[in-house]
Symmetry: C2
Subunit: 68 residues, 2 copies
DNA sequence: CTGTAGACTCATGTCGACT
DNA sequence: AAGTCGACATGAGTCTACA
């Protein structure tokens, strides 16, 4: 059975953010996105675009590949 | 200098599609997206979402990781 | 078969406010 | 610090049509 990609991506972002001891607000600042949006992405409620995903990957200092 | 991710993703999709000898229309059918949309993605004009990217990856029979 | 255009609907991403 | 809400502007994704 298939895992919703919004959920798996959100979980991965949350995991990487916590490993780096960042708050959602700090990650928002680092990635140039809104804090409430980061929250909804982490919780699998948003279908993020590749440009926003790249911003988050940059904020987390990982390559996009590592979010999938 | 940074390559626009819309362009690098579009180029990669086009490359994988051609390796599989698929037309844009065939890929559209396999992935459940509109042909004209596939065209604009391949040409770097659209900021595709992860759900649509997953559909294209499925149509190409690759993992999303391999499109980045 | 590919590329583009225009018109359309609905979701992304922003922001202020509250728990 | 994290989660959610409602309003908003912009853009994703569809569809018909034509070169």
């Amino acid at each position: 059975m298939e895992m919703d990609i919004r959920i798996s991506v959100g979980n991965k972002i949350k995991e990487l953010r916590r490993e780096r001891n960042l708050s959602q607000e700090e990650l928002a600042l680092l990635s140039g996105l809104d804090r409430t949006y980061i929250n909804s992405v982490e919780n699998g409620r948003r279908n993020i675009s590749i440009i926003s995903l790249e911003k988050i990957a940059n904020g987390l200092r990982v390559k996009i590949r590592n979010i999938f």
